[in-house]
Amino acid sequence: MKSVICDLVGIEYPIFQGGMAWVSDASLAGAVSKAGGLGIIAAANAPADYVREQIHLVKSQTDKPFGVNVMLMSPYCEDIAKLVIEEHVPVVVTGAGLPTKYMKDWIEAGIKVIPVVPSCNIAKLVERAGASAVIAEGCESGGHIGESTTMSLVPQVCDAVNIPVIAAGGIADGRGIAAAFMLGAKGVQLGTRFLVAKECTIHQNFKNKVLKAKDTDTMTTGESLGHAVRALKNPFTRQFLANENNENMSIEEKEAFGAGALRRAAVDGDEKNGCFMAGQISGLVKKEQTCEEMIKELFAETEKVLEGAKQWLK
């Protein structure tokens, strides 16, 4: 299966692996790129030295294209913005804000800039600033989320811009990929499915939680604080929500409770105090595989679904 996204970034299959903080390191990103997708290193809140090391590790594994997800609210954002130019990173994906002030420099350096967008107007704005494509991410996703669902956001963004749209949020199998293409997307970005990849270095407890999850096992917290986060339900998420409703707690106290929680999940596997960020589609993720097995299976399924779609025309 091919699309314009494959030609645009030089990949075999039109699939990106989402840049997930504390998850998307060189091990996962390198494996996805080697398997013919676009592996993406999450810069998250990490300092430039760490990200540089991850970039070098990916380059040592493969000559194929890869990306860095620049988290625009990171205290090191300025450093990372320069680093991706120095390191000739082929693709930059951005999250958590408007990347327009960095885009001119990145584009001049030959980087393909592909921002994650939560709305049509933001998609238009980054298109005007020279984005090569956009990722329309629905709130089915894990981690920090917007308000629109993938089903409603993707076709509207496709109509709003003339650059290719990549769909993200709630996709974990060939049916989801086929559906995304029917909505007008030219590629997909998956996060949750890759959490259980063999090359993903997160704690086994995190993987087990995803593998065991049912359809109703995620919830969102943080809406009252202005930054909604989707994660697997556990004592941490329940307490976070209780804190949000506690009038006697200050905003600072509520925020402090969440600090470091993703690290406690991804690195320590702390089932009580960690925040296991994962998407609503977790319930569909049932087996650990290598990235190559996943990607091959995903697109074999997608092709089968798309071929089968003709039955509805009879």
Partner: protein, 75 residues
């Protein structure tokens, strides 16, 4: 007048009465989140037929009016 047009756009955008908006009204008063701000800026671009670069430091209606005036002068 720039202010009147801006106030009109904001009033329509936020379902408010134009009289509620002054030069000193802040984005915070209008309860604009980052998505709303982008929507507002895009509406203003259309009305004034200009291109506004999103920038930090825009905090009030007065800031927006001054920015638009300076952009209109350059046109």
């Amino acid at each position: 007048m720039t202010f009147e047009k801006v106030a009109q756009v904001i009033a329509e955008n936020r379902d408010m009465d134009v009289s509620e908006i002054t030069m000193d009204t802040t984005f915070e008063d209008l309860q604009l989140d980052s998505l709303d701000t982008v929507d507002l800026v895009m509406s203003l671009e259309e009305v004034f037929d200009i291109t506004i670069e999103m920038q930090e430091g825009l905090k009030s209606v007065g800031d927006v009016v001054n920015l638009i005036d300076s952009l209109l002068e350059k046109k």
